[in-house]
Subunit: 204 residues, 2 copies
């Protein structure tokens, strides 16, 4: 549907939905799963609780959709930044690792982590989060391959890229309670060298 | 204090304390922070709630001590296993990475993760968990250096070992909601090759 074809009411509905999704991720990141009720999110988004429930019938619907929406937005923003990456070589590899690690060390990762850990003890949430993480994980993996400009068919490349995403998750966790930026910078630099060597075929 | 010098009452008290600590980690891993009350842990340990509160005045005391105690026990067990490691070289490096990753993908990590994430929104917990993670992190780092038999003074070695621990945390997170063993085996194999190259001086 093109912008021109939408009615003002549809535009308002879309804007409300978007405000709810963004507020939901902010609440999760700041207040955790326990503190993030639909009422709290509706208030932050400036909409009534009834309007929130019209868009998202359950709490699980709201937060799963929120993490998926914000992940897609962040990845789209990263794709724009990726146009400015240096040409292939060590500088590009380090810049790509930094881009990926930045994705996993901000409020979005913090929100996803709260949802993920809540899902470990809430079966109603677990099934949806597993499916969500699978989709987001695939998208991140595809983007990383693209940014690095490498061929997944080469021996060890797929696992090297997966290790990069696992490392980014670990660094995200290490940044949850304290500002880990200084230590992380050293790890990212060294990891980038190791990844470059692996992509060059020296560690496959 | 030697075993011979302890009275039967002191022995009983130590045994009760240990049962509480082990039950606390089991509860956290299975039920998460919300489900893990002192009463639930006392019941699982087969002690009265009063006895539990005698040993650990607050819920925060109990769970922080529990993760610290079980971490120390697991690391001691890993040290025993480390005696069976192959001589220095690629096989040893892979075996060490496997040992470390195993530490971060079992119930202890699951318990620690619940505590860690709860601490993000509970200031009373956060200060203690930051200190705890600092101690456990240092111990794990020291053990990894020892098992690998490498010198932290060499360029990039410290960061390579830190990256291994960060990767292990990321793999632990990826194992929270689904059994990630098959994918993880490939990542561990590739990471071990990359780490070996770095320790050999090819990626510093």
């Amino acid at each position: 549907m093109s912008t021109a074809a939408r009615t003002p009411q549809q535009d308002r509905s879309r804007a409300t939905r978007r405000r709810l999704l963004e507020a939901a991720v902010e609440c999760l990141a700041e207040l955790g799963w326990n503190g993030s009720t639909v009422a709290v999110v509706a208030e932050r988004a400036g909409v009534t609780r009834g309007a929130a429930q019209h868009h998202f019938p359950t709490r699980e619907d709201l937060f799963t959709a929120a993490v998926e929406h914000v992940s897609a937005e962040r990845l789209a923003a990263v794709r724009v930044d990726a146009d400015q990456l240096p040409p292939p070589g060590p500088a590009r590899t380090e810049a790509v690792v930094e881009l990926i690690v930045r994705l996993y060390t901000g409020p979005l990762f913090r929100a996803a982590l709260h949802l993920w850990v809540a899902a470990a003890t809430e079966p109603a949430l677990a099934e949806r989060i597993v499916a969500l993480e699978d989709r987001v994980g695939r998208e991140s993996h595809r983007a990383a391959l693209e940014f690095l400009g490498v061929d997944e068919g080469a021996d060890g490349v797929r696992e090297s890229v997966q290790a990069t995403l696992d490392l980014a998750r670990g660094l995200g966790l290490a940044n949850l309670l304290t500002d880990d930026a200084v230590r992380r910078a050293g790890v990212v630099r060294q990891w980038s060298r190791m990844l470059q060597s692996a992509l060059d075929g020296q560690a496959r």
